[in-house]
């Protein structure tokens, strides 16, 4: 499973690849599909608007879903708590960047 020194493994930037389904996210995060659906219902994940019966997500949803799962498990938060924590973390991140830019 190791690569040789002279032949680097190359992979694509995942976020630029095709859209993800609930099933894809469930497999990548190793959780039940139901769990992903609950994330959408609680506003933790946002499906992109697409004329279809199925939900689709951009690649960024992977990072968000994994972060949400870690918060849920490690801090014993419920879904509403996870959604709130994510919103506050994003706000904090934005303010930190602004502060940095003003220095």
């Amino acid at each position: 499973m190791t690569s040789s020194e002279d032949q680097p493994l190359s992979g694509a930037i995942f976020e630029q690849s095709a859209l993800l389904t609930v099933k894809d996210l469930s497999r990548m995060c190793a959780v039940d599909e139901r769990h992903i659906v609950e994330f959408v219902e609680e506003g933790v994940l946002h499906a992109v608007e697409i004329k279809s019966t199925e939900w689709y997500f951009t690649g960024e949803a992977l990072r968000r879903a994994r972060l949400a799962l870690r918060l849920e498990r490690d801090l014993e938060l419920n879904l509403a708590g996870v959604a709130l924590a994510l919103e506050l973390m994003e706000e904090l991140e934005r303010l930190r960047r602004e502060l940095e830019a003003r220095r």
Binding site: M1, T2, S3, S4, E5, Q7, P8, L9, S10, G11, A12, I13, F14, E15, Q16, S17, S26, R27, M28, A30, V31, D32, G59, E60, L62, R63, R66, L67, R70, L71, R73, D74, L75, E76, A85, M89, R97, E100, A101
Partner: protein
């Protein structure tokens, strides 16, 4: 192996109630969670706290742990007693991503996992589990692309059923233009499924090390560029470093400290490419000889300038 005092780690008394232990855990977890915390060593502390809680929250594990007493004195080697765990039944709490200390593994490792069953990898039968890792890259890797040697820690179950963390070195071609928080997906480099089937993928999340010159914000880059007072006041063409080489930058007359100039498309070469922002910082020449002092004095005499005018003084 080092004895771990889980009560000390959690900051609770040895006769703490379940509620007190839970409360202590939640408080420490919020403080040290690597996604939330800006504390130093947050990750190491969080693992330690998680492991302590894993033991103390379970009545069976806690009772077995309490049998060990206070452990050996500091610096002494710890060995589990030969009759360790006899009469206790551990139900595994389910394997986590993180690795446990040798101390935890020697006491609860194989036994806990034997009870935990195989709920992992069950979400897509016939296909191996996807693996995830995070790496810190130098900014040049995304600016110019190129191969980088990445050292990942991979959890693996060894022959004795213990969860161990193995080092895996991969030589990876970093895609030019990847941004912090994005993933490199290496198909087929995840876990192999038991028996036949396709291996899972490896997702490598990218973060950047601080760069000596540039600061990143998404796809944009920022540089603080020092300029002389007369360059800012009168305008000038000055040399500035950019990721794609030195360029001549036109400073408009009447610029001041903090004036931002944008070089479109010269940020991280993502699609679409980011911009490069230059923030002007006025640097004052030192007045450390007579010539310089005379120049400052001449300026003071020539300019009716009150920098505190808008403070009302």
């Amino acid at each position: 192996m080092e004895f771990k005092d889980y009560y000390k780690v959690m900051g609770v008394a040895r006769d703490a109630t379940e509620a007190q232990i839970k409360q202590a855990y939640r408080k420490l977890a919020r403080k040290y969670h690597p996604d939330v915390s800006k504390e130093k060593d947050a990750e190491a502390r969080f693992k330690e706290v998680g492991e302590a809680y894993e033991v103390l929250k379970s009545p069976e594990k806690r009772a077995a742990y309490d049998q060990l007493g206070q452990g050996p004195r500091a610096g002494e080697e710890f060995r589990p007693p030969p009759d360790w765990g006899a009469g206790f039944e551990f139900s595994g709490g389910g394997p986590r991503d993180s690795d446990y200390s040798d101390f935890f593994e020697s006491l609860f490792g194989a036994r806990a996992r034997a009870g935990a069953g195989t709920q992992r990898g069950a979400f897509h039968p016939g296909r191996g589990e996807d693996h995830h890792a995070t790496v810190l890259l130098d900014l040049d890797a995304t600016l110019h692309g190129g191969a980088r040697q990445l050292t990942l820690r991979v959890p693996e179950i060894d022959a004795d059923g213990r969860l161990v963390s193995k080092e895996r070195v991969l030589n990876v071609q970093v895609p030019k233009g990847i941004l912090a928080g994005q993933h490199i997906r290496l198909a087929g480099q995840g876990a192999r499924p038991p028996g036949e089937g396709k291996p899972g993928d490896l997702f490598i999340e990218v973060e950047f090390l601080p760069h000596p010159l540039y600061r990143t914000d998404g796809r944009d880059l920022y540089l603080d560029l020092p300029v002389a007072p007369w360059e800012a006041a009168l305008g000038a063409a000055v040399k500035t470093p950019t990721p794609t080489g030195t360029v001549d930058l036109k400073i408009p007359p009447g610029s001041h400290s903090g004036t931002k100039l944008r070089l479109k498309g010269r940020g991280i070469p993502a699609s679409p490419p980011g911009d490069f922002y230059v923030s002007l910082q006025i640097a004052l020449p030192a007045a450390d000889d007579d010539k310089a002092k005379a120049a400052y004095a001449a300026m003071a005499a020539a300019l009716p300038f009150n920098p505190r005018a808008n403070l009302g003084v």
